[in-house]
Amino acid sequence: SQQGEEDPQALSIQEGENATMNCSYKTSINNLQWYRQNSGRGLVHLILIRSNEREKHSGRLRVTLDTSKKSSSLLITASRAADTASYFCATDSGEGNTPLVFGKGTRLSVIA
């Protein structure tokens, strides 16, 4: 089953613009993570935000978390053609042996 739902499913922007992707989830979490996947490749971890954090930055990435709304957003500023990829949110309940649960992803296309 997939808990996270990303929105939009696909996003196409011009190089230099900002890209915003949203993720909604259903159950309580310990942390939420964002991953990137180039076509046909494995996933690469981007950033982790804990349930007691509201915002986190890493380079051109900004992640927000609203646990009351069970939602998160990923902002990529000043996008580049190399940012073209699929982006997934994943929730971690942190309880026992539960695995990360991934959403369906947002396919981002950055046009040069």
Partner: protein, 114 residues
């Protein structure tokens, strides 16, 4: 090795055949996960190992799927009597002994069942 290694990278087989997919996690990572990803979808959980034991196999779709990790390092995902619906990317990931934190993924094994 420096990262998670998966072999083969591509496997084409015929319906009904047996397939093994191998995952070599990052050295020292005791937690190992298998996910399956269909085209245009997110990774779906199959099974999780903590050390040698399967801590959670609730994602395995049926009894044709089985995975082992006999020495707590390399894991093998085994699929019997493959069906065309098994065609997907099979992803392996590992992380440290803690049950939180980032996952390190391999490049995946693309399985095609004809």
């Amino acid at each position: 090795g420096a990262g998670v290694s998966q072999t083969p990278s591509n496997k084409v087989t015929e319906k009904g055949k047996y397939v093994e997919l191998r995952c070599d996690p990052i050295s020292g990572h005791t937690a190992l996960y298998w996910y399956r990803q269909s085209l245009g979808q997110g990774p779906e959980f199959l099974i999780y190992f903590q050390g040698t034991g399967a801590a959670d196999d609730s994602g395995l779709p049926n009894d044709r799927f089985f995975a082992v990790r006999p020495e707590g390092s390399v894991s093998t995902l085994k699929i019997q009597r493959t069906e065309r619906g098994d065609s997907a990317m099979y992803l392996c990931a590992s992380r440290t002994s803690s049950n939180t934190g980032e996952l390190f993924f391999g490049e995946g094994s693309r399985l095609t069942v004809l």
